[in-house]
Each structure stands twice: as C-alpha cells, then as structure tokens.
C-alpha cells in the first residue's frame, strides 16, 4: 500500500521548455498586416480586426463605444436584422468590443462557412450607416442598463477608482452618464466611423484551422478596401490623479456588502519592473493560493474572493486590489491588505513559497499556450504593445530567476500604503 502522506515526485514546471508558437505574418494589398496562427484539430476559425478606435480618440464621451457597438446595426444594403441573421444563419458569432486605445470586431465561425461571412464584415467596415432609429433604441436601452448597473456597488467602485488614478479627463478614468447618451449625434458617429474604421489603421489577427487559401481570401475581400489611409492622430493625455486618497461611498444604504478597491499607478509593460511585479503580484493576490486569498478568504472568511492585478493598459497601468467583502468586516479587510503589504516589504518571501509561485506561473503559462486562440491572443497583446517574442522569453527568465531579495526590494518600491487610493462603496 502506498504512503498517502508523501507527494509523488514532480517535474518542476520551471524546467519545462516553453515555446511560443510563431505566427505567420503577411500584408494585404492595402498594407493591412495579418498575423495568423494555423493550429488546432477542430474545424473552427477566429478572425479579429483591430482598429485604433478606442475612447482615446473620441472628442465626446461614449462616441467610440457607440460607434463600435452600432457597426452591425445597418448598412446601405442591409438592416440590422438582416445582418444579424446572416451571421447567425451560418452559426457565426460576430462580437465587437471597444477598449481604450483600440476597438475590435471578432468573428468566430466554422471553417466551412468562412467565405460566406467575410464579405458581410467588409460591408460593415465600409457601408455602415448608423440609422437614427437604431441609435435611439440603443440610447434608451443603454441608459436603462446604466441605471441598473449604478445600483451595484462593484460597478460604481470600478468607475470611481479609475477616476481617482487617472482623472476624469483621461480615457482610462472617464465613465458615462445618461447625459452622455442623450448628447450622442448620428453625424458624430459617422465621422468617427469614417476616420477610424473605413479609412483607419487596421490589423488582422486570425487563428484556427485556416484554409490553404486564407491569404488570398482575406486579400480578395479586404485587400482593396480604403483601410490604412488615415494616420492615427498623435493624442496624448496626462494622468491627473486625485489629491485625496481615501473614499467612503454609500451607494445603497441597505447594502450588505462593500466593494473595496485599492490601487496605485504603475508603469506599462515596457518598464523593466513589470515582469518582476507580475511575480510579486501573484504572491500578493494574483491566484487562489495568494496571500490575500489565503488570509482574507481562506482564514477569515471575510469575502468570496479577493484579487490583485496589474491593469492591462497600453500607456500606463495601475496595481489594483479588488474585493466585495461583508459590510461589517470591510474595515478589517482593508487593514489586512495593508498588513500583507507590510509583510512583503519587511520580510523576504520564503523560498518554498517562491518556488511554488514560480511553478504555478509556469504551469499556468503552459496551459495558456494551449490552443490556437490562446496563442494568437498572446501575440496580439505583444503586437499591440509594440513588443515581440523576446518579451515572452524574458518574462520566463524572470519567473525562473527573480530572487526573494529582489521581490522585497520591489515591494518596498511599490507596495507603500501611502501610494494607494482606498475606496469603499456600500
């Protein structure tokens, strides 16, 4: 009979040879770059069009997100219903998403239907008309949705903490009111669409079991569109962080939980501390076995979950701690977060804990590289941040080699109580 008290031997995940599968690169006739990962056993494909059409480039609040949302709400040839029906008939999913710098259109479909659905995407990029009736419906329904969301403490907290870090006039700190929806004008959407989609800079990412003629197919449908004709305007924003650091908001007097956000500014991915901070963050609150989770959930039961993370922005980031805790234990929760920060500053991370986190991060990275969609997502992140695969291998090197002393130094540099905003929303 085996001894159940002794763990079976393991291969240290840090010794795994992690390889990022390269992506194919080519350009369409109009200069649109395509990044492609041909892999996978299922007959499925993802194509994503990325535009520099995020709220970074809008003149008025919510114009970028509305333009992105309404791309499939009507073209010169097709009404919204017909567009939706076209994609859905082929079992295809066309999603769109607006971020800060970029905005995307993402198509998922079975490989056999690809050529039936791509032409409609091209139509959306060149012939969308943003019908007034569709805008009115969107406006009304979004305002209603916002009203519901504003009842939620987590939603309110997420808006406010970003405002404190970046300032309301920064694209990362801005949020929407019902008045912004009222002010939306069809003409402004059309102008934004022309500049940032129809003539805008576009990158294409695709992955899955790609057909042999993928390049020709994309080129024949998208290669002659007027994309890439408008320069991306050089727009800069300076963060205007709030002077006051601590906030208590009562959003719902009867609330039984409190949304807690604690955050500080942090440089972007190109900063030499970024990869090391990811390791420190994992120890702090980055996974289920982290110190915040072990202490505040698994030991004290104050919350269902507590997490820390570095925001995934292109220009600058923030280090964020986020949880919903019982209303009566919210002050105690915040005190414990500061205690954990002090511990990381004052004592080196024990080797055993550091080894565990290294292995966990490597295993998790290996899992993240599993499948074509995951691989292209990583490439996309690197390309949009103007990085290459050396970033991947450099990060692995840091996960393997960073020392407890370096992590402690980093904790002393960044995890200082007074650098953090502290927000409680009941």
């Amino acid at each position: 009979m085996q001894n159940r008290k002794v763990a079976p031997p393991i291969v240290d995940a840090v010794d795994l040879n992690l390889v990022l599968k390269p992506c194919d690169r080519y350009k369409l006739d109009n200069g649109v770059p395509v990044y492609a990962v041909d892999a996978g056993a299922e007959e499925v494909i993802m194509v994503e069009w990325v535009f520099y059409a995020g709220n970074w480039y809008e003149q008025n609040n919510i114009v970028a997100a509305t333009t992105n949302f309404m791309l499939k709400n009507g073209t010169k040839k097709h009404k919204a219903f017909a567009i939706n029906e076209h994609f859905e008939f082929y079992g295809a999913y066309l999603n769109r998403q607006c971020y800060n710098e970029t905005a995307t259109i993402t198509l998922h479909c079975l490989a056999k239907h690809l050529e039936h659905v791509l032409p409609m995407v091209a139509e959306l990029l060149t012939e969308s008309i943003f019908p007034q009736e569709e805008l009115d419906i969107y406006r009304q329904n979004q305002k209603q949705r916002l009203e519901v969301n504003l009842k939620k403490c987590d939603f309110v907290a997420n808006r406010l903490i970003d405002e404190y870090i970046y300032g309301f006039h920064h694209p990362y700190g801005r949020y929407t009111s019902t008045l912004d929806y009222d002010r939306l004008e069809q003409e402004e959407l059309k102008a934004f669409y022309r500049q940032y989609y129809t003539y805008g800079k576009c990158l294409v990412f695709t992955a899955g079991k790609l057909p042999a003629n993928m390049q020709q197919l994309l080129n024949s449908i998208f290669g002659s569109l007027p994309l890439n004709q408008a320069e991306i305007p050089a727009v800069t924003f300076n963060a205007a962080p709030a002077a006051e650091k601590k906030y208590n908001i009562i959003n719902d007097p009867d609330g039984v939980q409190c949304a807690i956000r604690m955050a500080r500014d942090f440089p972007n991915r190109k900063h030499p501390d970024f990869a090391g901070a990811q390791v420190l963050n994992n120890i702090f609150g980055g996974f289920f076995g982290s110190r915040l989770m072990s202490n505040i959930r698994e030991d004290k039961g104050y919350t269902y979950g507590i997490h820390s993370y570095l925001q995934n922005h292109i220009h600058n980031s923030a280090w964020m701690i986020s949880t919903e805790a019982g209303r009566d234990v919210s002050a105690a929760t915040i005190a414990e977060v500061y205690k954990e920060m002090a511990l990381l500053r004052n004592e080196p991370v024990p080797e055993e804990e550091l080894d565990l986190v290294r292995n966990y991060m490597m295993g998790s990275l290996l899992g993240d590289l599993d499948g074509p969609f995951q691989i292209i997502a990583r490439w996309k992140n690197y390309i949009l941040n103007d990085l290459d695969e050396s970033y991947f291998y450099n990060t692995i090197g840091i996960i393997r080699k960073i020392t407890a002393a370096e992590l402690q130094e980093m904790a002393n540099k960044y995890l200082q109580d007074e650098a953090f905003y502290e927000l409680s929303v009941v």
Binding site: M1, Q2, R4, A7, P9, I10, V11, A13, L16, A41, E42, E43, V44, A80, F81, I83, N84, E85, E88, F89, Y90, A92, Y93, H108, C109, L110, I137, Q140, N141, Q144, R145, E147, V148, K151, K152, D252, D254, V256, Q257, F287, G289, E298, D299, G301, T303, Y304, E324, A325, G326, L356, V357, N359, Y360, M362, G363, S364, L366, G367, D370, G371
Partner: protein, 411 residues
C-alpha cells in the same frame, strides 16, 4: 468524434480516458452524482457548501491547492442542482499529483471544524454578492418557488436562505460525504497528453483501495403536472420593472429536450431571434429580453426574462409577449429558422470541444447521464428535429396551464 477508453475499478469507480497528444497538459475531472436536488429541504445549499469544504484538507493531506500549484496545476469546481464537478489541469508530466490529491479526498476529508467555520462565512458572502446585494438578485428564488411545488429544483444551489448555510454542522458534513462521495457515485475522466495503460495503473494504485460505498438511490418526488397558470408579483428597490415567465419542459434524456432547446434559441438567441426583433427592436417594449432554459437532468424550465422600457405597463409587455407565444404555437417556425439554430448548435459544439477541459467535463456528464458515447450522437439528435417537432413542442410547453408569471415591479 471524441474517442475514449472506459473501464471500471473493482470498487465501482468509472474511469474514462480521452487521449489528445496535441496538448502538453492533462486534465483530471471528477464528477460526483450529487447536487442541490439531493439536499434535505431544511438544509439547502449544502451540496455547494460541501464543494467548498472539499478544499479544506483531506485525511492525509492538509492542503489540496498548494501541492497542485507546486506541480504547475490549476483547479476549480462547481455545483449545480444536479451534480458536483471538480477539475484540474496540470502539465502532463505531473499527473500523478492530481491522482494523489483527488484520491485522498475521495478516501476521506479531514472534517476540520475550522474549515467549516470559515467556508460557512465565505459561502454567506457568495450568497450576498450574487443574490442579495444585486438588483433582481432574488428573481430566481421567487420564480423557482412559484414553478416547483414539490421537486427539489424549488431551491437554488446556493440555498434557500442564509440560515441553512450558517447552521451546517460537522456531523452533517460527514453524513453527506459518506452518502454521496463514494467511488460508486463518482466518475473519473482523465484527458490530454496521457496513455490509457498508465492511467489504468494510476487509477488502481490511488483509487483502487477506497471502499466502494453504497450506491445512492435517488428517489426524488416528481413535480406534478401543472394544471393552471400561476402568478406572483413583488416590489423591490430596482430601477426597472421586470417580467419573468417560465414553463415546464422535458428533462435532459427526453427526446423532447432537443426541440425545447432549439425553441429557446429561435425565440431568444442573438440579434436575429424572434423576441429580440419584435419586442426590443420593433415594438420597443423591452430594453433587453432573454429566452433560455436550465438544461437540467430532471424536467426543467424554459424561461423568458426581460426588463421593460420605462413607461410601458406590465400588462402591455405581457400581452405582446403572449402574441409571440401564440404565433409560434399556431404557425411554428420556418425551415430557414430551424436550419439557422441547427447551424448555431453545430458551431457551439465545435467551439466547446476545442478545449480538453471542456471535453473532459462533457464526457463525465454524458457518462453520468448513462453513456459517455451520447456525446458523439448529440449533434445528430438536433439535426433530426423537424419543424413539425418544433410546432408540437411549442404547443406542449407554452400551454397556458403550464405557465408561471412573475411581475417584478420597481418600487
């Protein structure tokens, strides 16, 4: 076609192995045939609380997560009304770590008082986060109690009330464990970069000596056929009126399940669905509207759930919804509509099957339903549904006497 090998250990543990050598990872998935429907009505939420306790240490291993993370693994679990599923993924080289951990907690938990005390609180916070501190968070508590008079689907997996979770005792935990968490009530699926012969050896080594336990015989009270429409209304501090309707539908193994699933997709799936087009876009009565079902093993519910545009009365919204229901009952659907939702189903299945973890979970579910091979005939069953089947099912499901209506008014 998903290939797998199947064998049963002497203690009754069913083992399925799905080899996929294109991934460097391995997935170990254990499904226990116990969910919220198996709870005592006075101790609801217990199956889910129990899921939390499965991470609070087992008889020989003080902590489940730590050794798994050290081996480069990640894990999670979920509880439904029907079952409880635990899964982890790790580099295939380290698969024995998962066998060691999973078999020890099947052998016996540590039954730690501290873990119980903490997880009671954690689950109460989960309850608050999702069902109390959210607008409309109690909709399904109310609707389930309206739609089910008898069957334990009457309560949600999180539990009927906080006190049921707060009052859980360690004796209850032990009883639940030895009743449900035995090899005869479990299914082990191993998938990814693994070989069946090696998995067989590992399964025998780690799970072979666990006492089989007694097969749990489920004798749940069946929900009586509903014979008259039911109605309830409630007032809450929410910004918008909401209308929620449900109708009973066939269980997971009934052939009527497939048309019912397609009907919800025709009515509520996506921007070209009937209800969205008619009631949100054309008539502008709802700001959002969904139609879905719960996919439960025992007979479940088709649900339509929407928020009203301000100024629209509940009666006006309900009547317009009725007109759509009447339309599908009288005229059914077109061949094109049916083909569309079949194509969508084909697509959904293909995308789900991309991930090894999802394939492992599906194999376990179909084995629990009686035969893992069902996973490979599922699409065919959808393809066989005709417009006549849709018409017939619509008439059975959307019978007014089978309906439950909840008016959720904004105060």
């Amino acid at each position: 076609m998903i290939q797998f090998n199947r064998f049963v250990l002497e203690n009754g543990l069913r083992v399925l192995v799905h080899e996929d050598h294109s991934t460097p990872m391995a997935v170990v998935n254990i499904m226990y045939d116990a969910g919220a429907r198996d709870e005592n009505p006075q101790q609801t939420g217990f199956a889910h609380l129990f899921e939390h306790l499965m991470f609070g240490g087992s008889i020989n291993i003080p902590d489940y997560d730590e050794p798994l993370q050290r081996a480069g693994g990640e894990n999670n679990a979920y509880t439904t009304n029907d079952l409880t599923n635990y899964y982890c993924q790790l580099p295939a080289e380290n698969i024995e770590t998962a066998f060691w951990l999973e078999s020890d907690r099947m052998l016996s938990l540590a039954f730690s008082e501290k873990s119980l005390a903490v997880q009671r609180k954690v689950v109460c916070e989960e309850f608050k986060e999702h069902y109390i501190n959210k607008p409309y968070g109690d909709v399904w508590h109310k609707m389930r109690e309206l739609a089910y008079t008898t069957h334990p689907y009457r309560w949600m997996t999180i539990g009927k009330e906080l006190s049921h979770v707060e009052n859980a005792r360690i004796e209850d935990v032990k009883d639940f464990f030895f009743k449900h968490y035995r090899p005869v009530n479990a299914i082990l699926v191993v998938a990814g970069h693994v070989k069946t012969d090696e998995i067989r050896k590992l399964a025998e080594k780690w799970f072979g000596d666990i006492p089989p336990g007694t097969r749990y015989e489920r004798n749940l009270p069946a929900e009586p056929v509903q014979t008259a429409p039911r109605f309830a209304e409630t007032y809450a501090d929410v910004p918008l009126d909401a209308l929620i309707r449900t109708w009973h539908m066939p269980g997971r193994l009934d052939k009527g399940y497939y048309p019912a699933d397609l009907i919800t997709e025709i009515l509520g799936g996506g921007g070209s669905s009937r209800l969205f087009q008619s009631l949100v876009k054309e008539k502008k009565l709802f700001s959002n509207l969904d139609c879905y079902h719960f996919g439960t093993i025992d007979p479940g519910l088709v649900a339509i759930d929407g928020k009203l545009v301000k100024g629209v009365s509940m009666e006006e919204a309900a009547q317009a919804l009725d007109e759509e229901i009447v339309k599908i009952r009288q005229s059914g659907v077109t061949e094109t509509e049916l083909q569309k939702v079949k194509n969508k189903t084909e697509s959904i299945i293909a995308f789900e099957d991309m991930s090894v973890m999802s394939r492992a979970g599906s194999l376990a579910l179909y084995e629990l339903l009686g035969d893992a091979q069902l996973m490979n005939t599922e699409l065919e069953k959808y393809q066989l549904v005709t417009t006549a089947d849709i018409l017939e099912s619509s008439n059975i499901i959307f019978d007014e006497n089978n309906s439950n209506t909840l008016y959720y008014h904004a105060k």
